[in-house]
Structures are given as structure tokens and as C-alpha cells.
């Protein structure tokens, strides 16, 4: 039973437009969320995170929105650029001072078309 779901395996967006990647979770104990970006044959790169005390976190072109009541978060990329084409993973965890494992979605492939 997947606790973190990325229901869209792929997404295509035109350059300059907004990309919206979605992630749903089922475990109400999760209070810390991260997005990772992965290019082929490379390891994931951390993009942005959000804790449950916030509903929005912004970093440049990347904004993550958290809707706790719906157990849903989304990553907005605006404007989208061809270099954003990658697989994006959503991850969730209970935040603690120790090493609680992240739980990952399977990823969404974003293709930004020039």
C-alpha cells in the first residue's frame, strides 16, 4: 500500500509555461515533505522542502504548496525551461532529530518542450 503517490507518470509542458507536479500521501503522521529532481544516470538532487507548519514554500522558480487537509502537495515550476526535463520525486517523512526514513513516490517524468 503506497503511502506516497504520484499518480501522473509523465507530464509535458511548453517552455515558459507553468509545470504542476502533484503528490498525495495517506499517512497523517507525515509532517515534512521534499521534492527531488533526477536526470538519467545521475543521483537525485534535492529541490525544495516544506514542513507541515507552512502551506507554501518558494525558492526561485520553484514553489511547493501543501494542503494538509487534503493530504496533497504540489510543485510548481514557472517559467518551465527545457533543462527542467527530468523525473521528479516527492518524498515524505515524520520530522525528528533522528533518521526516520523518507517514503518516496515513484516519480513523474516532466518533459519541457521548446
Amino acid at each position: 500500500d503506497q503511502q506516497v503517490k504520484q499518480n501522473s507518470p509523465s507530464l509535458s509542458v511548453q517552455e515558459g509555461r507553468i509545470s504542476i507536479l502533484n503528490c498525495d500521501y495517506t499517512n497523517s503522521m507525515f509532517d515534512y515533505f521534499l521534492w527531488y529532481k533526477k536526470y538519467p544516470a545521475e543521483g537525485p538532487t534535492f529541490l525544495i522542502s516544506i514542513s507541515s507548519i507552512k502551506d507554501k514554500n518558494e525558492d526561485g522558480r520553484f514553489t511547493v504548496f501543501l494542503n494538509k487537509s487534503a493530504k496533497h502537495l504540489s510543485l510548481h515550476i514557472v517559467p518551465s525551461q527545457p533543462g527542467d526535463s527530468a523525473v521528479y520525486f516527492c518524498a515524505a517523512s515524520e520530522w525528528d532529530s533522528g533518521n526516520t526514513p523518507l517514503v518516496f513516490g515513484k516519480g513523474t517524468r516532466l518533459s519541457v518542450i521548446a
Partner: protein
Amino acid sequence: DTAVSQTPKYLVTQMGNDKSIKCEQNLGHDTMYWYKQDSKKFLKIMFSYNNKELIINETVPNRFSPKSPDKAHLNLHINSLELGDSAVYFCASSPQPDSYNEQFFGPGTRLTVL
């Protein structure tokens, strides 16, 4: 059925010991990975194997040695464990290495070195 499984889930051991973490995937994927999650929840790739062949080998101490007896298994052996090795280790798999594929992550193994 669990797609990517890791054993053990928790591992507590003394400094200086040698330990192994096992990973198995039943998805028929060609590529498997080991990642390390640090205390800030950041994920770093350690190794990647494609069809039992090592294709990614990041800068990790040579006390860490991956072993792939077949393409469904990728085990991680750690010699002379140190306090700093305490972390969560994730195994993952994907259909192919050089593509924008989704990845299936295991549940993680929480290693504590005393």
C-alpha cells in the same frame, strides 16, 4: 507483493563490526541503486548497478562494497563500521539506467552504529 524489499529494517551494531544489508526487487528491472539519507533527510546516491554491472560509483569509503549476485539483488556490505555510518540506507530499482524512468524505492534500513 512488495516490489523492492530490504532486510533488515533496523540494524544496531558496534563500531568496527562488518554488516550487510540485502535488497531484492521482483519487478524485473535491470537497474538497482543504493542511496544514503543523511540526518537532514538529504538523499545521496552511492552505487548503481545495471544487469549486475557497476555503472555509478560515487565517492564513498571503500569500506562500502556493493554485490549483485543477480539482477534482482543488490546487497551492500560495510566493513569496519564507524559512528558516521549511522544513517538510513535505501535501495531502489528502475527499468533502465539511462532513461527518465520512475524509480521504486525500498522502505529503507536504519543503521545505528554505537
